[in-house]
Symmetry: C2
Subunit: 468 residues, 2 copies
């Protein structure tokens, strides 16, 4: 936090012309405008390693759509740069404050407005916590499927901004697949309503999908209509399989995808991740001669049959040891992996994706980079989606180490692209990966993104210089 305080808190007073602007904003929004330096600092960064380079002018803690609209009209009028945040759990630096910029927070907009169990839709404000939506759905035997690791504190607005993923994506899809309609405030302050309450709708462009994943660069999402599903009931089976080779593990994942078995969760940990987790959270896992651990969960009426399919697929692909259980226990190690690795040192983590059949090659490429660069790189993956999270463990405050880690992760991104992959599967581009965008998008395609950005934000005030 020392780095934060030194950059995001202002040492000099706010210059008079800026103070006048802030006064105007306070005149419009009163106590929803936060000006206390500690509050500004608290709202100035996200959960990534990206750091604000200067203090924001003010935070608008919006309580309703009109507050957001007023804030954006003010920002447009005065050409003030705006960052947008929910819980600040983003991992790509998308919500970091701009120097002398405005922060709009939708975290106080946390009403679940209406849940319609028959239509399996729920209308929420943007600041509702993800897990709270799922809990409300559960009362009706329904589920809100997306479950990013941060789901207990991240907001729906943030999930939508980043098109958040999670463990259950392999079965149920990403956040975008569960958003039926949006209320969005444009940079101009105008409020639009995208999408529909129907399952199918082809009227106009799919602006809903355009805003999902746009990382605050096209508008501020203030409300959403989310799709719910029947909550899986019945038996639960988990399996855990230890492989002596990454290639075998990768082939097992591909074969499982083709088998018709439908895992609710399917995760792959390399040896370094598995060892670190087992050391911290012992489960009796035998990792001798292991290269990778595959864990999966099946829920519902086909759980037993699918778990047996998974077991035999693993056996057909050279598994060393495989076990099946009737509880969630075997998954627990995977669930704590992120925390355990963070505790092991400063963890510079990353998020890349490859087509599922290239998963083993990507793990192998990471191992090679790790060896060549002389850094420890534990990696786990949402295997069923081909989405990997390699980390580089570096010493705490070592600037050279951090710079080296960034270089290493750039090599990882290049390796993913070489395998037909993506530089981000679920965390977003934000500020941390924007430099790498031209490696994935050719010039004409990148220019097409900028056409959209410029159309919605002609003044360039909304999360500028990020994401696209």
């Amino acid at each position: 936090m020392s780095a934060l305080s030194s950059t995001a808190q202002r040492s000099d007073p706010v210059p008079p012309h800026l103070a006048e602007l802030v006064g105007e904003l306070v005149g419009e929004l009163g106590p929803r405008v936060l000006l206390d330096p500690a509050q500004l600092a608290e709202h100035s960064r996200d959960a990534s390693r990206a750091q604000p380079v200067g203090a924001a002018l003010a935070v608008v803690a919006a309580t309703c759509t009109d507050d957001v609209s007023a804030a954006l009209r003010w920002a447009s009028r005065h050409r003030v740069k705006v960052s947008v945040r929910g819980a600040g759990s983003g991992l790509a630096g998308g919500a970091v404050a701009y120097p002398d910029g405005l922060v709009i927070s939708t975290a106080a907009m946390r009403r679940i407005v209406h849940l319609d169990p028959e239509a399996m839709l729920v209308d929420v404000e943007a600041g509702v916590v993800t897990a709270d939506v799922d809990a409300a759905a559960a009362e009706h035997g329904l589920m809100y499927a997306p479950d990013p690791a941060s789901h207990r504190w991240s907001t729906i607005g943030g999930n939508i901004a980043t098109n958040a993923g999670g463990l259950r994506c392999v079965r149920h899809g990403v956040t975008a697949d569960h958003v039926a309609a949006l209320e969005v405030v444009l940079a101009s302050g105008d409020v639009i309503r995208t999408g529909a309450r129907t399952r199918k709708d082809v009227v106009g462009y799919d602006l809903t999908r355009l805003f999902v994943g746009s990382e605050g660069t096209l508008g501020v999402v203030t409300g959403a209509t989310l799709r719910l599903r029947p909550r899986p009931t019945g038996p639960e089976r988990t399996f855990r399989a230890v492989f002596g080779s990454l290639v075998d593990a990768g082939r097992a994942v591909t074969a499982l995808a083709a088998s018709g078995a439908r895992p609710e969760v399917l995760e792959l940990m390399d040896r370094a991740s598995a060892l670190a987790v087992e050391a911290h959270h012992p489960t009796g896992l035998d990792l001798r001669d292991s290269a990778a651990v595959l864990v999966g969960q099946f829920l519902g009426r086909n759980a037993e049959q699918d778990a047996r399919t998974a077991e035999s697929v693993c056996r057909a692909h050279g598994v060393q040891r495989v076990e099946v259980a009737q509880s969630d226990d075997l998954l627990e190690a995977r669930r704590v992996a992120g925390r355990v690795l963070s505790a092991a040192g400063l963890r510079v983590s990353c998020d890349v994706g490859v087509p599922v059949p290239r998963l083993a090659e990507m793990f192998t490429a990471i191992a090679q980079i790790s060896a060549e660069e002389g850094v420890l790189m534990p990696t786990f993956a949402h295997a069923g989606d081909g989405n990997l999270h390699p980390s580089v463990i570096v010493d705490g405050d070592d600037d050279a180490g951090r710079a080296h880690a960034e270089h290493v992760l750039d090599r990882v991104a290049d390796a993913a692209l070489a395998l037909g992959g993506t530089i981000s599967g679920e965390h977003g581009v934000g500020s941390l990966k924007r430099h790498a965008l031209p490696r994935q998008l050719d010039d004409a395609t990148h220019a097409a993104h900028r056409l959209v950005k410029d159309a919605f934000d002609p003044l360039g005030i909304l999360t500028p210089q990020r994401a696209v």
Copy 2:
């Protein structure tokens, strides 16, 4: 065809300044430029009732992306309006030619470039026929799920342009859910590549989804990477249930959606449709005292159990008669419904959607409009998606009758909107429904659509004045 010939064929010669432009195009694209009046006429309309109001200048029968690019550069240079077509099976007038406009056809681009069974992806050119993709997938135990009624002749490019639906959507989603990546030629002639080959990708905006369903107004899709799925195997069960009340049938559909049973197909026919189909295609269906017939199909390992669930859900909701079979036979009546109704007279058909629990109310609203307007309106629906296709049967060449039918369908659209629905679930807006757009989209939201349109097509040459 008489109306077509009189409007889409030119009686006077092409004026010299236009002839010069055409000469330039022929110089660039040679025999891919079609100029024969019969060919122009053939490429000037779609499968809807929309009529061209004047003859096109030329058709470019593109054989590759470069052809499309050259054609669009030419059109941009000379401000020539462009319509785009695959098989011409569209139902909303989106592909109808513009007077003195250019038609770009991608129908000759019909290569299946590469099918990767492990990644479950297939790269195709835009002109590939939908059913051919599914057939190619079947060779590997896979399926391409979207199956619009036209799937035996419609092209993937057209399916993408309209975000086509079909019977299997209730289980597998619409076309957009199966498109991983696109190659698109912009109005400028620039070629962009959207999306990725991964299951998850959050780099940049979701331009893939933006182009899917954009009805040729933002660019010309020339290639696509489509997602395949494991082909369902194992048992097949169909069921057919006759209800004495639309309300009961609608409640049964809602209850079935909540039951966790996963129909591959779930269709509802009102009494008028069912009677017309049964008269033409007798299946021994007893329609005495009936108000609606619900038919469904289940495939795979849960088919038997799900069919029994469907049966008991129907019994719990006042069904008159319900039968379960082990073959496709009970669905056949639904499959021929469109053809049978067309044979019954000029069929002015429509496409609206409502939230599933409002299905019965929408059928009732249609019945009321039918009674008030004194027209026969047989209606069937993709019940599981809440997507209805009411038709108005009018006398063949009766202009007043057609105008009245349009008025009736506008009332239907209003009724769908009043129930929280959409004026188009799967056919698109095209030219036929554009007048109704402001009833669904408020001014600010409509303006946001125009921002996108203007960004991609600043000269207004690409399918102008349609869709948005």
